[in-house]
Symmetry: C2
Subunit: 153 residues, 2 copies
DNA sequence: TCCCGATGGTTGAAGGTTCAACTAAACCGC
DNA sequence: GCGGTTTAGTTGAACCTTCAACCATCGGGA
């Protein structure tokens, strides 16, 4: 028997369209700002942030991919570029000969430190300044629910 | 005088991280589903949707770019591919000799009609099924506020 | 011990996006 | 109607992401 499509009602349509537009414009804006001011896309910034917060400023590739929300392949390519830029270094993992450890160089840390204020300012201006405290709270709950739902299934 | 960075407080941090994760995973999931089931990325699907809803199933390139939230350049490249796939056709604009009109072919419409149920089902499953009606409403307001804020500035 | 499946990571090719440069036509003030 | 400035759209190069294929190593069972 054919399964009927559960189409979106007008309210859902409107919500979905608004969400699509807002998230796309927000991300495009932040990405462009970061590219202009720090010379890297947002995904690369995320990688540096995750490394900077890890103990010893280093992580196994897999864990870094996980933390940065990246595929392994993407991370491999990205780290290759970050390494060429001198911001990250690779080392062999002592406990697993298959493993690689990515570590943030001092130069990478300095670049991140230089980029962070501008980026945070952008996040604040484009996101938090537009929302009421209640809305920020709602957005957090919605996002956490969604993330759970998506990764749980 | 140096401008102090308005850093994010812990709640804002948490909100921002949750938002980043959720929106990235959501979009990645939908994109992959669409690629697998319809052979096109979400951005291309958006273009076909906009064309399908336009009078005469056609739009000027600029208006289509606007509607689909795409840059002109991106749209040019995309339409070139969609044309090669036989889903879109280009015509000269009769009233402006600089202009180009993109129009959805019957084949393009059929492809879209075939892809839509699966995609809508995905949006419902991954987004709406996870949220309460109140949260859907909150998300709509937040997104509309954000979009206004971003495009207004 | 040997084998086999799972895990960690890389690679190359194909496809998508961005940016800057460019052509052509329309608009505007004079 | 002339000359400069927008606007419409395309192009190519550089870059980023994805996908599938691949190699190496690890871990567990017979």
């Amino acid at each position: 028997m054919a399964v009927m499509t559960r189409w979106l009602d007008p309210d859902e349509q409107r919500t979905w369209r608004a969400y699509l537009t807002a998230s796309r414009v927000l991300m495009d804006t932040l990405d462009r700002e970061l590219q202009r001011e720090a010379g890297m896309p947002h995904a690369y910034y995320e990688i540096l942030v995750q490394l900077s917060e890890a103990p010893g400023r280093q992580l196994r590739m897999s864990q870094l991919a996980q933390a940065a929300g990246s595929s392994r392949s993407r991370l491999s390519h990205a780290v290759a570029r970050l390494e060429a830029a001198g911001w990250v270094r690779r080392e062999d993992c002592p406990t697993d000969r298959r493993g690689q450890i990515a570590l943030l160089t001092d130069e990478g840390f300095a670049t991140l430190a230089a980029a962070a204020p501008g980026h945070v300012e952008g996040v604040r201006r484009h996101l938090f300044d537009a929302l009421s405290p209640a809305q920020v709270d709602q957005l957090r709950r919605i996002s956490e629910t969604l993330a759970d739902h998506l990764t749980g299934s």
